[in-house]
């Protein structure tokens, strides 16, 4: 009865917020969760629940799965805006349930913050969990990557649903062994791409085998610590692959799985992994290949995930990057583009960003290709300016502005193509300053 009233009041609250023109975001969920920690048990779900977690790629993969299922004519409820802790997911449920807590949908698809998977799914149904990658990220908030993985491993010991895992990430593949009785483990992998390397180029995790402590060996690295790895001692990593992507063509933006070609709107190896995860996941639900092809050929996100726009007639690419890997991949794309360009880097250090900005020193700014000028902004504009200067970039061509509007104004003094990297809380203010 108590839960009925909570739902009723939250729905009225939500209507009130909508009248005021506010979204609510996490607020509904926060209030409800504070009221009753067990409220997740109240909901009645009669459809599969899919969750995506990772350090990088959650929002894109979550949205792509939802979009693909919708393209196939399914009714999907999802936290598409990315509120991915227990309060955000709860908000999504509250907005979409009946007063008796029933959810009417064909699929529930959620992105879940990697620290919150055990919290959300303690009392809530989970049919398929997709795990993309684990990188160092917000070490002051998340603790070390190892402790994060161990918490998820603990949760998975009692989990018997589908587990879709990136076999090219030693931090993820290991979770396939958490529950030896679970036979529903599906590994995906991506064939070596044009710019794969023999040596690791950026900072990474998981250098030692979690099972026997031997140093892991790689045949090649795709980016950061993602690549074809194996433990030379206990054979960890040598798993049967459910979906393997081949023929990666970044110029023509396509790849193949099971001899079927998929065209996509993105040109980074990082996104290929996300899409292979999408395909691995939806294929468990017998979604017709033609719907998958159609969806992926159209899918884009308009909120700073490799967003391509024109600002004052100048081609601009905006990417969200909140940790070294995200930044290194963004710079990789920037360097693979031979045209003249300018870069804007916006760095904040609010609670949600991680207050420690030491991680920017793990970003590789060496040998930037044809970059004429770098403007920095955000709360920590000077920190990122120092870091870039130290990497060897001409300091007379670095312009820090604490004020984001001044930064944008200075950036668009020229018509040169722009690349913009913003971390978490700085993304929306940056898009706003750009007029988006």
């Amino acid at each position: 009865m108590k839960n009925f009233f909570i739902v009723l009041i939250m729905k009225l609250f939500y209507i009130g917020l909508k009248i005021l023109g506010k979204n609510g975001g996490n607020l509904l969920g926060k209030v409800a969760y504070d009221w009753n920690r067990n409220i997740f048990k109240y909901f009645k779900i009669n459809c599969p629940v899919i969750a995506v977690t990772a350090t990088n790629g959650k929002t894109m993969t979550n949205n792509a799965i939802g979009y693909t299922l919708k393209t196939a004519g399914k009714k999907v409820i999802s936290n598409t805006e990315g509120n991915n802790m227990e309060t955000g997911i709860l908000s999504t449920l509250l907005k979409n349930c009946t007063l008796s807590g029933k959810i009417k949908a064909d699929f529930l698809v959620f992105e879940v913050d990697e620290g919150y998977v055990p919290v959300v799914f303690k009392d809530f149904r989970l049919d398929t969990l997709v795990i993309l990658d684990f990188f160092r990220d917000q070490l002051d908030r998340n603790g070390e990557v190892e402790s994060l993985i161990l918490r998820i491993n603990e949760f998975l010991k009692n989990y018997n649903g589908n587990l879709v895992l990136n076999n090219d990430d030693p931090n993820v593949a290991r979770l396939g062994k958490a529950n030896p009785d679970n036979k529903n483990i599906y590994y995906f992998s991506v064939d070596k791409y044009k710019f794969a390397t023999k040596d690791i180029k950026e900072a990474g995790e998981g250098k030692f085998c979690p099972f026997c402590n031997t140093r892991i060996e790689y045949e090649y690295y795709q980016y950061s610590h993602i690549g074809k790895f194996k433990c030379p001692n206990c054979d960890y990593g040598n798993n049967k692959i459910y979906k393997l992507a081949t023929d990666i063509d970044l110029e023509n933006r396509s790849f193949k799985i099971d001899n079927i070609t998929y065209k996509i709107r993105f040109n980074s190896i990082y996104n290929i992994y996300n899409f292979v995860a999408v395909i691995s996941c939806v294929s468990l639900y017998n979604i017709d290949v033609k719907f998958i092809q159609e969806a992926l050929s159209k899918f884009i996100l308009n909120n700073g995930r490799l967003e391509e726009v024109n600002i004052k007639g100048v081609p601009t690419i905006i990417n969200l990057a909140k940790n070294p890997t995200g930044c290194n991949v963004s710079l990789r794309i920037l360097n693979e583009d031979t045209e003249e360009k300018e870069l804007l880097f916006v760095l904040n250090d609010k609670l949600a960003d991680g207050q420690d900005v030491s991680w920017i020193w793990d970003i590789n700014f060496n040998n930037l290709n044809n970059v004429k000028r770098i403007v920095t902004s955000g709360i920590r504009a000077y920190d990122i300016a120092i870091r870039i200067k130290t990497s060897g970039f001409d300091e007379t061509k670095i312009e820090p502005y604490l004020n984001l509007h001044e930064a944008v104004e200075s950036l668009y003094k020229t018509n040169t193509k722009k690349y913009i990297i913003a971390n978490y809380t700085s993304l929306q203010p940056t898009r706003k300053a750009l007029g988006l």
């Binding site: 160092r136 070490l139 002051d140 603790g143 070390e144 990557v145 190892e146 402790s147 900072a203 250098k207 030692f208 402590n213 207050q355 420690d356 900005v357 030491s358 991680w359 920017i360 020193w361 793990d362 000077y382 920190d383 300016a385 120092i386 870091r387 200067k389 130290t390 990497s391 060897g392 300091e395 670095i398 820090p400 604490l402």
Partner: protein
Amino acid sequence: MKELNILYLYPDILELYGDFGNIQVLKYRLEKRGIKVNVTPYSIGDEAPDFTRFDLIFSGGGADQEQGILSKDLIKYKDNIKEAINNGVFFLLICGSYQLFGKYYKDADGNIIPGLEIFDYYTEAIEDRQKRCIGNIVINANLKDKDTKIIGFENHGGQTFNIDSPFGNVLYGNGNKFGDTKEGFMKQNVIATYLHGPLLSKNPELADYIIKYCLDRKYGENTILEPLNDDFENKCREQLLNRFSSNN
């Protein structure tokens, strides 16, 4: 051409918090002054280095599990390291490395990981793994009789005891323990601290202090370092010192 030789310990293991940035800052500031820098990495399985042959030894912070693995390796070189310290080689040690040069580190489960026992301090982790000293930190360090504010970020569960000569006094943040007035450990040629940031990125005076020490010792003279354009660093310090003191 003048040059400095830096030994960089466990670069592939102890690089969790961007501490490699310290080497980058040193290299940048030395090369800008026309001084060549040779950075020699050493990790598990490599040929044994001679610590006495280097001008500066740098070692950063890492994950708890990996630190356990490398402490067993580093202990093999204890005598050579002691000799290097006595000879005046400069040691810059961050976080886990700071802890490692003491008597021992006791982890959250009560296990003792023996340190190099070169210095008398020791570190004990808090039982509650969730409790850590995390946040921005400002200390006042005494560098060559001049008070210098050092800005960094601390993130450690370990609480360090029995420090006879700290790196600095805490103006903002925790230090060696929760609510401590002291941070780190310092001798004439040793700076051991919990400060990430990385340490040298926002503290150019400290970087130059270390550089001058190494050059003076190597070339037997009173080096005058050409000033560099530290405009970004100065603006950064002004902003952050203002911000962290008003929150106090």
